[in-house]
Symmetry: C2
Subunit: 366 residues, 2 copies
């Protein structure tokens, strides 16, 4: 069995609401469907989300990376020769989600060829993951309504509060949510680097009082002194995300104590690299969480397949619900969240089946 081709299909699906966060606002999921085909007819798939504000990629750059670099390097390889592929592409800098998607698509092929779900090949720890709901409402009252509705409808027990724009609003949101939702839900915040160190430090009493479980990217990681001041003043672990896109960055963040937990996003580190991150973090004694790259359903299945495989990634709720923000999706069978959980699919590979009509409708390269 050999890789015959790697195809990249850019597609865009409108979001229900423009997603605003600390730095930008987007109104559509501009993603790329990556397809790895073998000479015996298998097709492995994955979703690369273009996130210029995080990785500097565009749909065009992802397509180019795959057409110009990944495809020529990997056509003719046995999909199981993952380490050869990794070595051949080690020269390329950045292009994170292009690389992650190619790796996940190759694993999808491997799983199908071996007749096993990827989550079992990776370790088979759990049959489901608890799911975080990321709150997108902009006012504290809006967030409470949203949280109650989502708890009612899907059984969520963990909520992520998007913060980092206005510390006063952020403080009110944290206080109000804890007061209204009670002590049994887990709450954590994600500032997408939006606070200064002083703003973050000033908010610590509110967050500690409210029992916030993690501070995700509270301040810019590229402002190391600010991170150091903040980390020194709180017991709430800082969850590294944008600051830990590469393994070396993870190591440095951990060694410098600027992140005390690490968010793994399969969109950027696929499965092969993510597995190394698990090894490193478990070895060093650092907690892990499965993060969302604002994935559609296809990307979400990648996160689920990986997160469910290990104890260290599945014992914490994963960010698996962003797809609810899309008005539609290219996955043929919608994902289900029930009782606050998403169950793994018991199918070979990652279990992705595309609705070809929808892909034809939403693709932007026609």
């Amino acid at each position: 069995m050999k890789i015959a081709s790697i195809e990249a299909v850019p597609f865009s699906i409108p979001l229900r609401n423009p997603t605003g966060f600390a730095h930008a606002s987007i109104s559509a999921a501009d993603h790329v469907l990556v397809r790895v085909r073998t000479d015996d007819g298998l097709v492995g798939q994955a979703e690369a989300p273009a996130r210029p504000f995080t990785y500097g990629e565009s749909q065009q750059s992802i397509v180019t990376a795959i057409d110009e670099w990944f495809s020529p390097a990997m056509v003719g390889l046995d999909p199981l020769a993952r380490e050869v592929a990794r070595d051949r592409m080690s020269w390329l800098v950045h292009n994170h989600t292009a690389r992650g998607a190619v790796d996940m698509a190759v694993w999808d092929v491997i799983g199908q060829a071996l007749g096993q779900p990827v989550h079992r090949l990776l370790g088979g720890y759990a049959d489901a993951m608890s799911v975080v709901h990321i709150l997108f409402a902009s006012s504290p009252e809006g967030m409470v309504d949203e949280a109650n509705e989502m708890r009612e409808r899907y059984g969520f027990g963990t909520f992520k509060i998007k913060t980092g724009k206005d510390p006063k609003v952020d403080a009110a949101a944290v206080r109000t949510l804890r007061a209204e939702l009670g002590d049994d839900v887990e709450l954590y915040i994600d500032s997408n680097k939006g606070w200064s160190a002083d703003q973050a430090i000033a908010l610590l009493p509110v967050m500690e009082e409210a029992g916030i479980s993690m501070l995700e990217e509270p301040t810019p990681a590229l402002e190391p002194l600010g991170r150091r001041r903040l980390a020194a003043r709180t017991s709430i672990p800082i969850l590294g995300d944008e600051s830990v896109t590469r393994m070396g960055d993870i190591a440095t963040q951990i060694l410098d104590d600027h992140s005390q937990m690490i968010s793994i996003k399969t969109a950027r580190t696929g499965f092969s690299e993510s597995e190394r991150i698990v090894g490193m973090c478990e070895g060093l004694g650092v907690g892990l969480a499965m993060g969302s790259q604002m994935d559609g359903m296809v990307g979400t299945l990648g996160t689920l397949a990986f997160g469910a495989a290990f104890k260290s990634t599945s014992e914490r709720a994963g960010e698996l619900d962003y797809f609810l923000q899309l008005t539609d999706d290219i996955l043929a069978e919608p994902l289900v969240i029930a009782d606050g959980k998403m169950a793994v699919l018991d199918r070979p590979g990652v279990g992705i089946e595309i609705d070809e009509d929808k892909l034809a409708h939403y693709r932007v390269d026609k």
Copy 2:
């Protein structure tokens, strides 16, 4: 498919010569063959070497650990649920080679069930590994003769010098070997913790002059100040072995800069844990080498299957030749070293086939 039973068969094979090293001398390979059987008739195998001077295990303790703890915990599990097995056995302290063998035997089952060699499942980087010859002669002249003979016969390009008993002899050995073998062979030393820090430091000029590539366990790792003094005075990386039997130990050694490279021994960390070590060391930027636990051929196939899978482990010669020190072996088809390399077996699983007559002859529990 479910695990139906785990069996432990102790066997002993005499060595050609008593193996003396810094602390002890042994005259037989006292090992345990571990067999994981599934309900559909597959048998996964691995070799656990009893190394009381390293892990405190005996053949009896290995058998007991498997009969009393591993077997009851794992019977009924899907072999692919590796992370569940790992979690179930996480309470048990030490018992390193019992644990490593069970993990490798499970991977052997997985490979057979999926119809793929384990080295491909783990990443498929290389088809062969370069092999280190461990020099056992006790005099410098004896070592030169042995090295020349082994180079002639098997094509070895890397030799490990056992040191740590008498610094004068060690210095003479290092000088003589470099002088007689020339600059093109790789030479490294292993003191099995036999030198004091002062002795090691005093020998540094000789070793640096001779271009020794690694210092394996030069001084006792449990004497941290000695390691720190030594590490501060040389550019030759210290290769951690006995000091890095557990992941947390690896992390500590690396963070304290007491080991600059890590020896992975599948006898103690199997494949699942060894894979995590690869992640941690690659992430932190620490070199890896595949070490020997004085394995027979069965254990050697485990080391080979793992080491060949990754670039970081296969780009350095691995310690795959200790089996030459045994007068016999239970593997049906002898391993081959040619041109200084050992090729992977292109068979599902680890590729182990036992000569049942030999096992019957050498087993010690009859």
